[in-house]
C-alpha cells in the first residue's frame, strides 16, 4: 500500500533547523490496521501529514500505491487526497453550517458528482455509521461520538484505499472510543488500509501492528516492546 524509505523532514524555525523526522523507513501492506504511537513531539503528526500529502518531506521517498509522492502540484495532491485517502481528525473538522448529510457528501462535490446522486450516496454511508436519522442535523446538534461517525462516513464516501486517523478517539470518552474503534476495525475488515496516530495504548492494542516513534525515529522492535511493556505498567501509564 505504502512505503517510506529514509524519509527526512526538517522544520526551519528562524535560523535553526529542526530535524523532525529522521530516516523514517517502514512499509504498510494493503489491508493492514496499523497504529502509529509516540509521545508528543515524536513527529507522529508530521508523519501523518506527509502520508496524507498535506505536507511535503525533504529527502527520501514516499511511495503511495504505484506513485512516488514527491513535488506534486497542489491540484494533483488534491486529486490524490480526494480519491485515495480518507481523513479522520481528533476535532472532527465538520463544516458547522452544513448538515451531516452535506458534510458527508462534500468529497463527492469535489469529484463533480451531481447533488441528488451525491446526497443519495451520502445517505447510504450515514446509514452505515448508524446516523440515518441525523442526516438533517448540523454538527452543533450532535454529540462527539456522532460527529466522529459523520466524519468517518465522510472519509469513506470517496471509496479511499487508505484511512488516516489522527487521534480519532482523543476527544471522546472511553465507551464512545470503543465504539469508534469498533467502527474502524469494521472498515479495516472491508479491505481498507487503516493508519491511526494515537498515544492511547488501548487504541493501539486494537490494531494489528504498532509503529513507535521517538525523537523522529522509528524505534527498533526490541525498544518498542520495552516501551509497550512500560506503557502497560499501571504506574507508568498514569504518567503519560
Amino acid at each position: 500500500m505504502l512505503r517510506l524509505t529514509k524519509v527526512n523532514k526538517y522544520y526551519r524555525v528562524g535560523t535553526h533547523s529542526l530535524h523532525v523526522l529522521r530516516d523514517i523507513d517502514f512499509e504498510v501492506e494493503d489491508g493492514e490496521f496499523v497504529a502509529i504511537m509516540g509521545s508528543s513531539g515524536s513527529g507522529k503528526s508530521t508523519l501523518l501529514n506527509i502520508l496524507g500529502i498535506l505536507d511535503d518531506y525533504d529527502s527520501g521517498e514516499y511511495r503511495l500505491g504505484d506513485t512516488i509522492i514527491r513535488d506534486l502540484s497542489e491540484s494533483r495532491a488534491a486529486h490524490f487526497r480526494n480519491r485515495l485517502i480518507g481523513f479522520v481528525f481528533q476535532s472532527f473538522n465538520l463544516l458547522p453550517f452544513k448538515t451531516a448529510l452535506e458534510n458527508v457528501a462534500l468529497p463527492l462535490y469535489y469529484q463533480g458528482v451531481a447533488r441528488r446522486k451525491r446526497n443519495q450516496i451520502a445517505m447510504g454511508f450515514l446509514e452505515r455509521v448508524g446516523l440515518r436519522d441525523w442526516a438533517d442535523h448540523t454538527p452543533s446538534e450532535m454529540s462527539g461520538g456522532q460527529k466522529q461517525r459523520v466524519a468517518i462516513a465522510r472519509a469513506l464516501i470517496g471509496k479511499p484505499r487508505l484511512i488516516l486517523a489522527d487521534e480519532p478517539t482523543g476527544a471522546l470518552d472511553s465507551e464512545t472510543s470503543a465504539q469508534i474503534m469498533e467502527l474502524m476495525s469494521e472498515i479495516n475488515r472491508s479491505g481498507i488500509t487503516v493508519l491511526i496516530v494515537t498515544h492511547d495504548p488501548e487504541v493501539a492494542a486494537r490494531c494489528q501492528r504498532t509503529i513507535r516513534l521517538k525523537d523522529g525515529k522509528v524505534m527498533s522492535p526490541e525498544a518498542a516492546a520495552a516501551a509497550a511493556a512500560a506503557a502497560s505498567h499501571p504506574g507508568m501509564r498514569a504518567a503519560t
Binding site: N49, S75, A78, H79, F89, S91, N93
Partner: protein, 417 residues
C-alpha cells in the same frame, strides 16, 4: 456556471454573516447610486442648457460696433464704430460666411417700442431683418411666413409678429394674417406669426418681437444707412474663431480701425460659447465619474476587505476542504464568485434605484420648461458600463482574498482553532 450547488455554497456563506454582508453590499450599492446620480446631474444641466439654446444655430456669430481704443489712420481713439449698409456686401463676399443677417432694432438696442392696433397697445421689440435671419434662428410658424426677398425688394410694409404680440394685440381666434398693426404711426400688414423654439429668456424675447423688412424700416423711419449689428453663421468646415477673424478684419478695414484694436468691434461667438459649455459638461461628467467612481471604489475595497476577513475566519474550513480534495482552482473560484455575486447584487440594486431616480427626474424636469435643469439622459449604454464595471470590480475585489485562500496550507489550517 448555473450549477445550483455552487450557488447554494455561496448563499450559505453570505447568509452566515448577514450584517456584515449587508454593510458591505451597502457600500457598493451606495457607490453605484452616487455614480449614477452624479452622471444624472451633469446630464440634466447639459440638457437644460441645450434646451435653452434650442433653435439657434451652433455656428452662430454676432458682431456689433463699439468704440475704438487705439488712435489709427489720423483718427483719435474713442470714436464710435457704426456699421453701414455698405458693410453688407463686404461681409457677404467673405469666404467663411454662410448666412448673413444684418439687423437693426427700432429705437436702439434692447429698447422696446410702443405698438398699437385699434384700442390695444403693447411694448415690443421691433427688428428690421433680412430673410436670411430665419436660417440663423429657427422659428416655427403659427400662421403665415417670415419676411421674404420681395418684401425687401419692394420695401413692403409687412411684419411678422411673435406669439406674445399676437396674444396682446389680437383677440383669441381673431384673424391675424392680413390685418394691420401700427408701429410709430405707420401701419404694417401682418404676414406671419412665429412661435419660438427657444425657451427661457431668449424665448420670451422672441415671443415679444416684431420683424419687419430691413429696407422698409429704413425708408419708413429714415434711418439712413445704419446697420445695428450682424448675425451670421459659418460655412461648414469653417470654425468660429476663423470666421470671427475674417469678419473683424474686414470690418476694421472698412471703418479705419487699428488692426490691434480688439475692443472696437464687439462679438458673441456661439462656437466658443458651445466649446466652453461642452468643456464644462465634460468636466462635470468627468467629475461625476471621478467622485462616483471613487465612492464605488471605496465600496469595492470594502468588499475586498470583508472577503479577506471572511477567508481568514474560514481558514480552517478551507483547510478541511483542501484535505477532502478541493483544488486551489475550486477554492479561488469559490471566493471570487462570492465576491462577484455580492458586488453584482448590491450594485444591480443600486442601478435599479438609480434608474428609478432617473425616471422620476426625467418626468419632473421635462415638465419644468424654464428650469435650468433639463431632463437627465443617462443612456442604457452608461448603465451597461456601470454593470460591467461592477462585475469587474467584484472580480478585482475577489483576487486578493481568493489568492490568499488558495495559498492556505491545509496543515496550518487544520491546526488553527
Amino acid at each position: 456556471m448555473f450549477d445550483l450547488d455552487k450557488w447554494k455554497e455561496i448563499w450559505a456563506t453570505l447568509r452566515s454573516n448577514r450584517l456584515r454582508t449587508f454593510l458591505t453590499a451597502f457600500g457598493v450599492f451606495w457607490g453605484i447610486l452616487m455614480l449614477m446620480l452624479m452622471l444624472m446631474f451633469g446630464s440634466s444641466l447639459e440638457s437644460g442648457s441645450k434646451r435653452q439654446m434650442k433653435g439657434m444655430a451652433t455656428n452662430l456669430l454676432f458682431v456689433w460696433g463699439q468704440q475704438t481704443t487705439v488712435a489709427y489712420d489720423g483718427l483719435p481713439p474713442g470714436r464710435g464704430v457704426r456699421f453701414k449698409t455698405s458693410d453688407i456686401e463686404v461681409l457677404r463676399r467673405l469666404p467663411g460666411v454662410e448666412w448673413l443677417a444684418p439687423r437693426l432694432q427700432l429705437g436702439g438696442f434692447m429698447n422696446n417700442f410702443t405698438v398699437g392696433r385699434e384700442s390695444k397697445t403693447g411694448s415690443f421689440t421691433v427688428m428690421a431683418d433680412y430673410p436670411e435671419f430665419k436660417n440663423i434662428v429657427a422659428f416655427a410658424y403659427e400662421a403665415g411666413r417670415f419676411i421674404n426677398e420681395r418684401d425687401i425688394a419692394e420695401n413692403r410694409k409687412v411684419c411678422v409678429i411673435g406669439k406674445a404680440v399676437r396674444e396682446q394685440l389680437f383677440e383669441p381666434g381673431e384673424k391675424v394674417i392680413g390685418d394691420y398693426i401700427k408701429i410709430s404711426g405707420v401701419y404694417f400688414q401682418v404676414v406671419g406669426v412665429t412661435t419660438t423654439l427657444r425657451t427661457g429668456q431668449q424665448g420670451e424675447r422672441d415671443a415679444n418681437t416684431i420683424f419687419v423688412p430691413f429696407t422698409t424700416l429704413k425708408s419708413a423711419f429714415k434711418m439712413g444707412d445704419r446697420v445695428g449689428f450682424f448675425a451670421m453663421t459659418a460655412k461648414p468646415g469653417v470654425d468660429g474663431p476663423e470666421l470671427e477673424r475674417q469678419v473683424k478684419d474686414a470690418l476694421r478695414r472698412q471703418h479705419r480701425v487699428a488692426p490691434e484694436d480688439n475692443l472696437a468691434i464687439g462679438s458673441f461667438n456661439m462656437f466658443v460659447m458651445f466649446d466652453k459649455l461642452n468643456t464644462v459638461f465634460l468636466v462635470l461628467a468627468l467629475l461625476g465619474w471621478l467622485v462616483g467612481g471613487a465612492t464605488l471604489l471605496a465600496g469595492v475595497v470594502g468588499v475586498s476587505n470583508i472577503m479577506l476577513i471572511t477567508v481568514k475566519e474560514r481558514t480552517k474550513e478551507i483547510g478541511v476542504r483542501k484535505a477532502l480534495g478541493a483544488t486551489p482552482y475550486s477554492i479561488v473560484t469559490m471566493v471570487m464568485k462570492e465576491s462577484i455575486i455580492l458586488t453584482a447584487i448590491a450594485g444591480l440594486i443600486g442601478v435599479a434605484v438609480g434608474v428609478g431616480f432617473l425616471a422620476l427626474g426625467h418626468f419632473a424636469l421635462a415638465q419644468a420648461q424654464d428650469s435650468p435643469m433639463g431632463p437627465p439622459d443617462v443612456s442604457l449604454w452608461t448603465v451597461m458600463k456601470a454593470v460591467g464595471i461592477l462585475v469587474t470590480a467584484g472580480a478585482l475585489a475577489g483576487i486578493m482574498p481568493a489568492s490568499h485562500a488558495a495559498s492556505i496550507k491545509p496543515i496550518e489550517a487544520l491546526r488553527a482553532e
